[in-house]
C-alpha cells in the first residue's frame, strides 16, 4: 500500500467504497506495482480477497507484500485470502487429467469456450460463510492480469462475459469491489486486446493508467499515472485539477509528483 497513492485517490483502508470496478492499465511499462498496492490495501482494510494471479508465483507476491507490510501466508491461513496461482495450476491442469473441473480447465480444451469454472471458483471463494468468529468486510476480486487469458486462447468476448458475471456477483450482489489489470498493447495492433480494454473501460468506475515516458527510459521518473474517474461531473473546482502524475518506484514505496516536478530535476 502506497500512502501517496491513497492520498491521490482520496481513500484510506478505514473507509472503502463498495461496488466499484477499478481498471488498472499499463502501456509501455509494467503496472504491477498497482496490483501490489491494491492487494495490500484491501488486505489491510480487512476485506476478504480473492486473488487470481496468473502472471507471477505466490512467493513473489508474498515477498513484495511483506515489503508493503502484509503477509500473504498468514492472510491465506486465516482464510482472508483465496489465492489462485495460475502458473502452478497450469502445470497441474495440463499434465494431470483430473476428474473435477479445475478453474483453469480451459487450458486443456482445444478451443477454449468460456470461463465458467473460473467464475464459479471466484463466486465460491467470496461467498460469505457463517462462521461468526471473523467477519471480513466487503469481498474483493483481484485479477493479474486479464491479457494473459487472451494469450491462453480465451476470446476477448469470453473474458468480458466473465467480468460481467463477476460484476453481477461481486459488485452488485455482495457489494464488493473488483480490481483488474490489463495491458495496453499500444501500437502492436492487438485487436482482441483492444476489444477487451475498451469493453473494460466502458464498465469501470475508476481507471488508473500507467504509461511509460514518451521520451524513453529515465532513471528518476519511471512513468506517469493517469487517473480517470468515471462518475457524474462535480460542480466544484475539483474537476479541473490535473489528474496526471509522474511516479518513481522505490524499494518499498512509490513516490508521486506533479508532471515535471521530479525531485531529481529541481
Amino acid at each position: 500500500m502506497f500512502p501517496e497513492l491513497n492520498n491521490l485517490l482520496n481513500t484510506t483502508p478505514d473507509r472503502v467504497e463498495q461496488g466499484k470496478l477499478t481498471l488498472l492499465c499499463d502501456a509501455k511499462t509494467d503496472g504491477s506495482f498497482l496490483v501490489h498496492h491494491f492487494l495490500s490495501f484491501y488486505l489491510k482494510a480487512n476485506c476478504k480477497v480473492c486473488f487470481v494471479a496468473l502472471i507471477q508465483s505466490f512467493t513473489h507476491y508474498n515477498i513484495v507484500g511483506q515489503k508493503l507490510g502484509v503477509s500473504l501466508t498468514t492472510a491465506r491461513e486465516r482464510g482472508q485470502l483465496m489465492f489462485l496461482e495460475g502458473l502452478k495450476s497450469s502445470v497441474d491442469v495440463f499434465f494431470r487429467a483430473e476428474e473435477k473441473p479445475h478453474p483453469l480447465q480451459f487450458l486443456r480444451e482445444a478451443n477454449a469456450g468460456n470461463l465458467q469454472p473460473l467464475y464459479e471458483f471466484v463466486r465460491e471463494a467470496l461467498q460469505p460463510v457463517d462462521q461468526g468468529e471473523t467477519a471480513w468486510r466487503c469481498p474483493v476480486l483481484l485479477v493479474d492480469n486479464l491479457s494473459v487469458l487472451l494469450s491462453l486462447g480465451v476470446g476477448a468476448v469470453a473474458v468480458l462475459d466473465f467480468i460481467h458475471y463477476c460484476r453481477a456477483a461481486v459488485c452488485c450482489e455482495l457489494q464488493g469491489n473488483m480490481v483488474v489489470l490489463a495491458h495496453d498493447s499500444g501500437d502492436a495492433e492487438d485487436e482482441e486486446n483492444d476489444i477487451l480494454l475498451n469493453g473494460l473501460s466502458h464498465q469501470s468506475h475508476l481507471i488508473l493508467r500507467a504509461e511509460g515516458l514518451a521520451t524513453g527510459f529515465c532513471r528518476d521518473v519511471h512513468g506517469q499515472l493517469r487517473v480517470l474517474w468515471r462518475r457524474p461531473p462535480q460542480p466544484t473546482a475539483q474537476r479541473d485539477r490535473s489528474l496526471t502524475y509522474q511516479y518513481k518506484i522505490q524499494d518499498k514505496s512509490v513516490s508521486f509528483f506533479a508532471k515535471g516536478l521530479s525531485p531529481a530535476v529541481l
Partner: protein
C-alpha cells in the same frame, strides 16, 4: 600452431577434472578456491550448486548465461526458474552463439542439459559448443611445464613469481573472474570431447519424437509443443529438479535450451500467415513452460525467429509471457552496415525486458546503446557511445563529451532532452568563451591572451598581430 594442440588437450583434461571433482584440483592456486567457497557457503543452502550465486538484489539464485558481459546487463545473471528469450537476428548468425554459450557454461559447471531442436540433432549442437578459456589453472600449468623444460632450477622460482605478480591484474581485467560463475569461450575452438561425454544431457529432436503416434486426443496445442512439454516435465520430475520432491542426490541445475521455437519446423504456422487459427499455441506453450520452470531448479534459453512472425500482436504477447527478452539486430544487409558510427560492430543488442522478481523494481541497466562484435575468438558487447564519443570529440567543445557520457545514458540519443541539453551546453560554452575574451584583455601587455594563444602558433609568431591589442586573432 604446434602449441595450440597441447594447450587444447591440457584445457580439456584439467577442465574435466574440475567438472567431475569440482574443487580438488591440486594447483598452486588453491588460495582462491577455499575463499570463494567459504563466502558462498555463508549464504543459503542452495549455493552448494556449482556455477550459481544468489542475486544481491532479490535473493534469487542466478546462473550465468555464459557471456559475463550479458550477465552484467541482466542484473548479475539469469535467475533460476525463468526464461531467457533471444529474438534472433535476421539471418540467424549470432543468436546460435548465445545459445551455445549458455549450454557450454552448463557443461563447464557440471549442470544437466536439455537441448531441444527441430532443425539440428542435439548431439550435433553439443559437438559444436565453443571451448572454454580457463585462464588461470590450466594455462599456468602448461606454462610451467614449458619453463621446467627449458630453464635451470634456480630460474623457475623467479619465473613463477613473475607470473604470480602478473596474475591479479589479468583477473581484474575481466568483469567477472573465471572462478566459478561465468566463463569466457573461444568460438574458434570446439569444446573438448571429454567434457561433453562427462556431462549429463538429454536431447529432444522433434523429427525423432513425432514419428509414431499421430492419433492423440485433440488438444489445445501443436503436437510438437505437447511432446516437448511432456519431455521436459518427465526430465524435471524423474531427475528431481522440482523443488517439491526431496532430492536424494546433490542438487543440480537443469539448463534447457530450445532452438528456433515458433519456426515452421515446429509445426506452428504463426510464421506463415497473419491470421492463423491457433495463434495462441506458442503463448500457451510459453505459459506452461514457465509454470514448469518456476517450480524447479532450471533455467531456460529460447531462441525465436520473431522477425518471421507476421502478427505483431503475438510478439507483444510473447514478450509479456517471457521473463528476460534480448533482441539481436545484426547489421548484415541493413544500411547501418555502411554507417561509419557502427563500423567496428556487427550489430546491436537490445535488452527488451528484465523480470521483476520478488521486487517492485527491476535491475535495469543504465546503459542502453549496446552493440556486439564477434572477434576472432570472443563475442563481445560494448557501449556504442564510446565509439560515438571517439568520433564526435572533434566536433563538440571540450568537456562536452564527458557530460554527454554522463547524461546520455539516461536520455536516448535524439530525444528531446538530449537536444535540449546540447543546446544549453552550447549556450553555456559560448558564454564561457566570451568571458575568456574579457579576461584576456588585461593580459595584453604581456601579449599572452589565451584566445590568441589558442588560435594557433602561426599567428602568434606573427609580429604584427602581437602589436594589435584588443583584436581577437582573426587572420585578415
Amino acid at each position: 600452431m604446434a602449441a595450440v594442440g597441447p594447450c587444447g588437450t591440457g584445457t580439456g583434461s584439467t577442465g574435466s577434472v574440475a567438472a567431475a571433482a569440482s574443487k580438488n584440483n591440486v594447483t598452486s592456486f588453491q588460495r582462491r578456491g577455499p575463499r570463494a567457497s567459504s563466502s558462498d557457503s555463508g549464504g543459503s543452502r542452495l549455493v552448494s550448486i556449482a556455477g550459481t550465486r544468489p542475486s544481491v538484489r532479490n535473493g534469487q539464485l542466478l546462473v550465468s548465461t555464459g557471456l559475463p558481459a550479458l550477465d552484467q546487463l541482466l542484473g548479475g545473471g539469469l535467475a533460476v526458474g525463468t526464461v531467457l528469450l533471444i529474438e534472433e537476428d535476421k539471418y540467424n548468425i549470432y543468436s546460435p552463439l548465445l545459445f551455445k554459450y549458455f549450454l557450454a557454461e552448463g557443461i563447464i559447471n557440471g549442470h544437466n542439459l536439455l537441448v531441444a531442436s527441430a532443425k539440428e540433432d542435439p548431439e550435433k549442437i553439443l559437438q559444436e559448443l565453443p571451448a572454454p578459456l580457463l585462464d588461470d589453472n590450466c594455462k599456468k600449468e602448461f606454462d610451467e611445464e614449458i619453463y621446467n623444460d627449458k630453464t635451470p632450477e634456480s630460474n623457475i622460482k623467479m619465473k613463477i613469481a613473475w607470473r604470480y605478480q602478473l596474475l591479479p591484474k589479468m583477473e581484474q581485467a575481466g568483469p567477472v573472474s573465471s572462478s566459478r560463475f561465468g566463463h569466457y569461450y573461444d568460438v574458434s575452438k570446439k569444446m573438448p570431447q571429454e567434457l561433453i561425454e562427462a556431462s549429463n544431457w538429454h536431447g529432444f529432436f522433434l523429427p525423432e519424437k513425432i514419428s509414431s503416434t499421430l492419433n492423440i486426443e485433440p488438444c489445445s496445442l501443436t503436437h510438437g509443443y505437447i511432446k516437448l512439454l511432456q519431455f521436459i516435465q518427465k526430465i524435471i520430475y524423474e531427475e528431481g529438479f522440482d523443488g517439491s520432491n526431496p532430492q536424494k542426490k546433490q542438487k543440480n541445475i537443469l539448463r534447457i535450451g530450445i532452438q528456433n521455437l515458433g519456426s515452421p519446423l515446429w509445426g506452428d504456422d504463426i510464421c506463415c500467415t497473419e491470421n492463423c487459427d491457433n495463434s495462441h499455441n506458442l503463448t500457451k506453450f510459453l505459459y506452461i513452460l514457465r509454470g514448469l520452470l518456476r517450480t524447479s531448479l532450471s533455467a531456460c534459453i529460447i531462441t525465436m525467429p520473431t522477425h518471421l512472425i507476421q502478427n505483431k500482436a503475438i510478439i507483444a504477447r510473447i514478450t509479456n509471457l517471457s521473463d528476460t527478452v534480448v533482441h539481436l539486430e545484426s547489421f548484415i544487409g541493413s544500411e547501418r552496415e555502411t554507417n561509419p558510427l557502427y563500423k567496428d560492430y556487427h550489430g546491436l543488442i537490445h535488452i527488451r525486458q528484465i523480470p521483476r522478481l520478488n521486487n517492485l523494481i527491476c535491475d535495469v541497466s543504465d546503459v542502453k546503446d549496446l552493440a556486439f562484435k564477434l572477434k576472432r575468438k570472443l563475442f563481445t558487447i560494448e557501449w556504442v557511445q564510446d565509439n560515438y564519443l571517439r568520433q564526435e570529440r572533434n566536433i563538440y567543445p571540450p568537456g562536452f563529451s564527458y557530460l554527454l557520457k554522463q547524461k546520455d545514458s539516461a536520455w536516448g540519443e535524439g530525444s528531446l532532452q538530449h537536444s535540449t541539453f546540447l543546446m544549453s551546453f552550447l549556450a553555456k560554452a559560448t558564454a564561457f568563451a566570451s568571458r575568456l575574451v574579457r579576461h584576456s584583455e588585461p593580459l595584453k601587455q604581456t601579449g599572452r591572451g589565451r584566445i590568441r594563444h589558442a588560435a594557433g602558433p602561426r599567428l602568434w609568431h606573427d609580429g604584427r598581430r602581437q602589436e594589435a591589442p584588443g583584436l581577437l586573432a582573426i587572420p585578415s
